[in-house]
Symmetry: C2
Subunit: 327 residues, 2 copies
């Protein structure tokens, strides 16, 4: 474990304990199958980053009702899990968090309906806050996430996908959830508009950096570490920034070879290695790192308004961590 | 067309026009694919019963902002459409409203994500009412509907399914939406608790009767009229009240034959005819009609509190219509 990750985990240990308890508690009244299917993913070692962001944002804005906040924080893990479960059905993915995807352990219908249930549960929890603005944020997140996923699907295998469209997809499918978690933290704490905006901006940039790092890792990390097959994005025809940039800069036979391989959508380990080498040569890897690091910088700049408050540190560290994953 | 249906349609013609416009309008800002996929089902001639119930309930409670109400009313058609689209994926159904199901015209992933989008859109519209209670009702509906669908899935092919469990499934998957539409109508009109409860009860009983009638029609009506294959429920292993009751009352070789046929899940038109005859002989058909008619009676009784108000008539007629479909 890196020092940074260790430092963050020490700082948020109690919060994570609260979140774990709330994740179980809020599934408890439901019947067995849902608990099993939802739990299969939920309790397979996720980072709990999204609920944690909500708790940390709330605390930074002076909220002190930690245990109630944890109930609201799980909204963001349930929403995340709902999306992952539906995504895995949509992509036909075999693995998730190192375990068989839910639609393989059970079947696609059960997975679809469990995703629907988790989505619905998130909304019920949002209603419990009694804050119209919170419900508005949650409704907005679900709407944008589903649009992002549909966009991603329509872009599948599209070799002319532009960076701008890619950015719009990752904003909708990832950043809006980070952004929403931070804003809801501010909202339940009754923070000022300025503080709400600052945390919203932090969440947005963090989410963009986080997704870019994830997209990079699909090319730079081993399957065992990823918990899913490397090169999975490309096998699914999902073009991400490292590839988009490399394709844009590549020329001649290199470009033809890359294009053919991506079109085919299937490749040996050697071919994948050669592709990654070309992506590095044409700057796709570095460019993505650069863009991610800019978002991290902006995320941290957004926090400056809170000055030297002790509770800023974990959020700042999380931003650095998002970047360290990609570097 | 029956006289009753004609009478209802004359009374609500303007409302239906408002609803159709709002259905289009509220999909409009979205991008093309979603509009096409969602529109494929939404504009294939649904009855618009659920949004209509909301409008009529609101009017009965003195609400006069019809065009704004129509925007909220479409929540219930979108929720309904989202469920139908996901159900068709879950069931692998080929036809819906006489057209190919969305997951056949496009593909299951697109259908799943479009369902998610419609669900999300419903929530956004619910938030726009600014009424926490409305959002609570919508969140509750989505949660119960997804649970109802999951229950139905776990009961698939279960020949020991009891009437009580069947009732719980249809309450969750159908009645809560009718009930919610009526209650939200009362809520946006600022109705008294007593009026809210009365319309809630009306919606619940109407929904129960409506689903029982639907379940009966699967045995008593031709495919062409249904817009989907007759006996579809049974082919999917979905046991409904007419079968549950008949199995409970049947004995000896008749029961064995029925059980074997249902287990096999596949049958010729002749075999299906013989099955329906046995279901009638053992009272499954009549019993279901009886139960539906009781719910219709209770639905109408719930309206008595509103006395002779002119705007009660369409709601009363709709209850009779639900019954006439099954009789």
């Amino acid at each position: 474990m890196t020092d940074l990750k260790h430092k963050i985990l020490s700082a948020v240990r109690d919060d994570l304990t609260l979140i774990e308890a709330a994740l179980v508690e809020n599934l408890h009244p439901q019947f067995d199958l849902v608990r099993q299917v939802a739990g299969h993913l939920l309790f397979a070692g996720g980072k709990r980053l999204r609920p944690l962001l909500m708790l940390l944002s709330a605390r930074l804005c002076g909220y002190d009702g930690e245990s109630r906040a944890a109930d609201y924080a799980v909204i963001f893990e349930y929403l995340h899990a709902a999306t992952l479960i539906h995504d895995d059905v949509v992509d036909g993915a075999a693995l998730r968090r190192g375990r068989q995807a839910a639609h393989h352990v059970w079947d696609p219908p059960t997975a679809v309906l469990t995703g629907d249930f988790l989505l619905a549960r998130s909304l019920s929890l949002a209603v419990r806050t009694g804050l119209t603005e919170v419900m508005g944020v949650i409704a907005g997140i679900t709407e944008q996430m589903s649009q992002g996923e549909i966009r991603q699907l329509t872009h599948k295998g599209d070799l002319t996908l532009t960076e701008a469209r890619y950015l719009e997809v990752i904003r909708c499918k990832t950043a809006v959830l980070f952004q929403g978690a931070c804003r809801v933290g501010a909202l339940i704490a009754g923070a000022t508009k300025t503080h709400q905006e600052a945390l919203d901006s932090y969440g947005y940039h963090l989410g963009m950096a986080f997704q870019m790092a994830d997209d990079l890792l699909d090319y730079t990390q081993e399957s065992a570490v990823l918990g899913k097959a490397a090169g999975a994005d490309l096998r699914e025809g999902k073009l991400t920034l490292p590839v988009i940039r490399a394709l844009q800069k590549a020329e001649g036979p290199d470009k033809q070879w890359m294009t053919a391989l991506i079109r085919r959508g299937d490749f040996s380990a050697d071919e994948f290695g050669a592709l990654v080498a070309l992506m590095a040569r044409y700057g796709g890897i570095d460019y993505t790192r650069q863009r991610a690091s800019e978002h991290v910088r902006k995320a941290k700049t957004s926090l400056e308004i809170f000055g030297g408050a002790a509770s800023v540190a974990p959020l700042r560290d999380i931003a650095d961590y998002a970047w360290s994953r990609a570097s």
